[in-house]
C-alpha cells in the first residue's frame, strides 16, 4: 500500500505549484467522498517507493468555517480512522511564517505526522530574510525542507521528508476533527499560534527596515491599481481588453481551424464512395468536431487572462474593489471569484461559491452565477454576432462585433444584479457578513504554471463538450438522415442524376442538390420534431431548425452550433468549407426572403444569455444546494424570463 501524502496549508502558499512539481502529468481530478469539493491527487515515486499525493483545499486555521476547510480536516480524520500510512506535508510561505506555521504546529499537536515545506525561499532571499533551518525544525518538532516550487530549487530535499522513519505513521492518537468540540479546537489553535510565533521569531532573521521589500512593492502597486480613480478605470479597461482579445485576437486562428477542417471534410468526401459512411463522417462527425475545436483559441485567451489575474495577485484586489459596490445588491466581494470563474464555466464558478460560509449567500451566488457569460456561450454568440452584426458597424471606432460581444457580458452581469436585488426581498436575504480577505504579494505569473492551467482548462472544455457534441452530432446526423422517404426523394434524385449526366454546370445542379437535401431533412425525425415544436418558438422569430438546435443546447450550449452545422451541412445549402456563418446569412425562405435577420439573432442572443441551458450546470446546482427543488425552480424561472425577454428583444428589433 502506498503512503498517502496530504499537502496542507493556507491558500497562496504555492501548494498547487508544489503538487504539480511532485506529480507532473500523473494527476487526476475527482471529488472528496460525500461532497462536491474537488480533489486533485497524483502519484509519485521516491527511493523506489510509491506515494499518493493529495492536494487538500487551503485552510487558514484550525477552526474550519467553509466547506473546503471542513473537507480538508475530514479527509485527515478519515485517513487516521482507516489506518492509512499518512504524512501531512504542510506548505508555508517563507516570508509569512508566523501565520503559516500555525497549521503545522496544530496538526502535530493533534497527533498527526507532519513535515514542513518552507516554500518561496527565493522570494525570502529577495526580502533579505535569513532562515535558521535547524532552529526552526527543532522549535516545530518536525523535519523540514526549504524549497522554491516555482523554480524547482530544493525539491530533491522533499525525498528526505517522504522517506523518513518510522516507515509507517502511527495515527492511533490522532484527533478526530469530525467529532471534536469547538472549545478544544480553540485551545489547539491558541497553542499553535504561540508555537508558531515563537518558532518564527527564533529562526527568522529579519532585514533592516520596517516592511519586507515584496510587501513594499505590493503596497506601491496597490496605490496605483487601487487608486480611488485609477483603480476602477484600470479594472474596467482590463475587462474590456479581454473582450476585444476574445474577438480580434483569436480570429486568425479560428479562421485557420475552420478552413482546415472544412477542407478535410471536402477531401474526405472525394475519397469515399457515396453513401452513409461518407455522409456520417463529412456531414455529421467533422462538422460537429469543428464546431467545438474552432473556439479553442478564444477559450485559451479567456483562461490565460483569468489565470494571469489570479496568479499575479490582482484577482483578490479586484474583488475587494467591487465589494462595497455589490453590497446594495445583497452581495459582497466574495461573489467576485465565483462570478469571474463562471465567465469561464458556471460549474467551477458554482463550486467556488463554497468559499462563502453563509448558506443563504452561497445559494444566492449559485443561483446567479449561470447568468455570467460562460465560455460555452461564446461559440453561440460568435456565430450569431459574426453572421448578423455588420462588419461595417464600428461605434466610436471600435470593432462593432466586439462591442456587441462586450454588451452580452454586460447583459449577463446586469441581469444577475437585477435578480440579486429582487432576491433581497425574499427569505434568501441575509445581512452582509464581515469579510476580510488576504491580498497576496504581487508576483510575476510563472509561464509554465500558466500554460499548465490554460491547457487543463482547454482540455476540460474540449473533453466535456467534445464528447457530448460529438455523440450528439452522430445522433443528430442519424435523426436528420432517417427515415428516407423513397417516394418523395426519388423524383428529385432522378432529376439530379439527369442533370449530372448531361454535364450541367454547378449553377444548375446545386439548387437541385439543395432541394434534395431539404427534402431529406423535412422527412426525417429531426424535421418532423422541429416542425411540431416550432409554434412554441415562432413568436421569438425562430424556425424549426433553430428551435431544435436550441433544445439540443440543453446538453451543452455549444451543441447549438454543432446542431445547426449538421443541419445545414446535410441541407446542402452550404458545404463544410463555406461555414455555418454564410449558411445562416444565405438561408432563404421559399419566397426568397431572408430566413434569419438581426431580430432573430437578437432574440437568440437574449435567450442564450439568460436561459439555463446546460444539464451539467443544473446537476451541479442540485449537488451544491442539496435540492432538486432549487435547481428546478432556477431552471423554470430562468427559462420563463429568457422567453419573455427574448420575445421583447425580437419585437423591439423588428421595429428598428
Amino acid at each position: 500500500m502506498s503512503r498517502v501524502v496530504a499537502l496542507a496549508g493556507r491558500p497562496n502558499t504555492g501548494k498547487t505549484t508544489l503538487f504539480n512539481a511532485l506529480t507532473g502529468l500523473r494527476q487526476r481530478t475527482a471529488n472528496f467522498a460525500g461532497c462536491t469539493v474537488e480533489k486533485a491527487s497524483g502519484s509519485m515515486t521516491s527511493a523506489g517507493r510509491d506515494f499518493e499525493v493529495v492536494d487538500l483545499p487551503g485552510t487558514f486555521s484550525l477552526l474550519p468555517q467553509t466547506e473546503d476547510e471542513h473537507v480538508a480536516f475530514r479527509f485527515l480524520s478519515e485517513c487516521a480512522e482507516a489506518g492509512e500510512d499518512l504524512l501531512v506535508l504542510c506548505v508555508a510561505e517563507a516570508s509569512n511564517l508566523e501565520n503559516d506555521l500555525v497549521l503545522p504546529a496544530g496538526l502535530k499537536a493533534a497527533g498527526y505526522p507532519v513535515a514542513l515545506v518552507v516554500n518561496m525561499i527565493d522570494e525570502a532571499r529577495l526580502n533579505g530574510l535569513k532562515l535558521d533551518e535547524i532552529e526552526l525544525s527543532g522549535r516545530m518538532g518536525m523535519p523540514l525542507a526549504c524549497v522554491s516550487a516555482r523554480t524547482g530549487e530544493g525539491l530533491d530535499r522533499i525525498d528526505g521528508l517522504l522517506n523518513r522513519k518510522p516507515l509507517r505513521a502511527d495515527l492511533s492518537e490522532a484527533m478526530d476533527f469530525r467529532h471534536v468540540s469547538k472549545k478544544k479546537l480553540h485551545v489547539l489553535q491558541d497553542a499553535a499560534v504561540e508555537t508558531a510565533r515563537g518558532a518564527a521569531s527564533a529562526s527568522v532573521i529579519w532585514p533592516h527596515g520596517a516592511v519586507l521589500p515584496t510587501l513594499s512593492r505590493s503596497i506601491r502597486i496597490d496605490r496605483v491599481l487601487m487608486h480611488p480613480v485609477l483603480g476602477p478605470v484600470i479594472l474596467a479597461a482590463t475587462m474590456f481588453l479581454l473582450f476585444q482579445a476574445l474577438f480580434t485576437g483569436a480570429r486568425p486562428l479560428m479562421d485557420f481551424l475552420s478552413g482546415a477542417l472544412g477542407a478535410a471534410a471536402v477531401a474526405l468526401r472525394a475519397r469515399l464512395p457515396d453513401g452513409a459512411l461518407a455522409s456520417l463522417l463529412c456531414d455529421g462527425a467533422l462538422p460537429g468536431v469543428s464546431a467545438v475545436v474552432v473556439f479553442v483559441p478564444q477559450i485559451a485567451i479567456l483562461f490565460t487572462m483569468i489565470g494571469f489575474l489570479e496568479q499575479s495577485g490582482y484577482l483578490p484586489r479586484a474583488g475587494a474593489m467591487v465589494d462595497r459596490a455589490l453590497r446594495p445588491f445583497g452581495l459582497d466581494g466574495r461573489v467576485f471569484i465565483p462570478f469571474l470563474s463562471s465567465f469561464a464555466c458556471a460549474i467551477p464558478g458554482i463550486m467556488a461559491a463554497r468559499t462563502i460560509p453563509n448558506e443563504k449567500r452561497r445559494i444566492v451566488t449559485i443561483l446567479l452565477s449561470p447568468l455570467m457569460t460562460c465560455s460555452a456561450r461564446i461559440p453561440v454568440y460568435t456565430l450569431l454576432i459574426t453572421a448578423f452584426v455588420p462588419a461595417a458597424f464600428r461605434p466610436w471606432g471600435f470593432d462593432g462585433q466586439g462591442v456587441v460581444m462586450g454588451a452580452m457580458y454586460v447583459l449577463g452581469i446586469f441581469m444577475a444584479l437585477l435578480l440579486a436585488l429582487a432576491l433581497k426581498f425574499t427569505s434568501l436575504h441575509e445581512l452582509h457578513p464581515a469579510p476580510a480577505t488576504v491580498l497576496p504579494p504581487y508576483r510575476v505569473p510563472s509561464p509554465r504554471e500558466l500554460a499548465r492551467y490554460v491547457w487543463a482548462r482547454c482540455w476540460h472544455f474540449l473533453s466535456r463538450a467534445g464528447q457530448i457534441i460529438f455523440t450528439l452530432s452522430l445522433v443528430l446526423w442519424a435523426l436528420a438522415a432517417f427515415p428516407r422517404d423513397a417516394a418523395r426523394l426519388a423524383p428529385i434524385e432522378a432529376e439530379l442524376a439527369a442533370a449530372k449526366a448531361a454535364g450541367s454546370a454547378e449553377a444548375v445542379t446545386a439548387p437541385i442538390a439543395g432541394r434534395l437535401a431539404a427534402a431529406r431533412i423535412e422527412g426525417s425525425i429531426l424535421g418532423m420534431t422541429g416542425r411540431r415544436i416550432e409554434p412554441v418558438f415562432r413568436p421569438l422569430g425562430w424556425d424549426w431548425r433553430v428551435s431544435v438546435a436550441s433544445l439540443s443546447a440543453l446538453a451543452a450550449r455549444e451543441v447549438f452550433v454543432g446542431t445547426l452545422g449538421t443541419i445545414y451541412a446535410l441541407g446542402g445549402e452550404s458545404n463544410a468549407s463555406d461555414g455555418l456563418v454564410k449558411a445562416l446569412q444565405d438561408a432563404r425562405e421559399p419566397d426568397g426572403s431572408r430566413r434569419y435577420g438581426l431580430a432573430t439573432a437578437a432574440s437568440l442572443l437574449v435567450f442564450f444569455a439568460i436561459a439555463l441551458q446546460c444539464m451539467s450546470t443544473i446537476v451541479t446546482v442540485r449537488r451544491e444546494t442539496g435540492s432538486w427543488k432549487i435547481a428546478a425552480l432556477q431552471f423554470v424561472f430562468l427559462f420563463g424570463l429568457a422567453y419573455a425577454l427574448s420575445f421583447a428583444a425580437y419585437r423591439l428589433t423588428l421595429r428598428l
Binding site: Q65, L215, I219, D222, P316, M321, R324, A436, P441
Partner: protein, 75 residues
C-alpha cells in the same frame, strides 16, 4: 482607541476586540489579525471600503465597519 480612529500609515498593536461577533473574530484571528500583532492602515479602496491593512507580514483587506471593533494601542 480603535483601528478606525488611527491615521493611515501609523503602526499600532492590536490589543483586543469589542462588540465583535464570534464568527468574525474567529475569521480575523484565523487570518492573522490577533492580539499582539502590529497593524498599519495602508489605503482605502476606491469605494472607501474595505481598507487595506498591513497585518504583521501580510496584507489584508478588512471591512471598514470592523475597524471600530478592533482595539489597538500605540506600537
Amino acid at each position: 482607541m480603535t483601528l478606525e480612529s488611527v491615521a493611515l500609515g501609523l503602526p499600532v498593536r492590536v490589543s483586543g476586540f469589542s462588540g465583535m461577533g464570534e464568527s468574525d473574530k474567529t475569521r480575523l484571528t484565523g487570518l492573522g489579525l490577533r492580539p499582539g500583532v502590529t497593524v498599519t492602515k495602508i489605503l482605502k479602496t476606491p469605494l472607501r471600503d474595505p481598507i487595506e491593512c498591513l497585518v504583521g507580514t501580510q496584507l489584508l483587506a478588512v471591512e471598514a465597519r470592523l475597524l471600530a471593533q478592533i482595539r489597538v494601542e500605540t506600537a
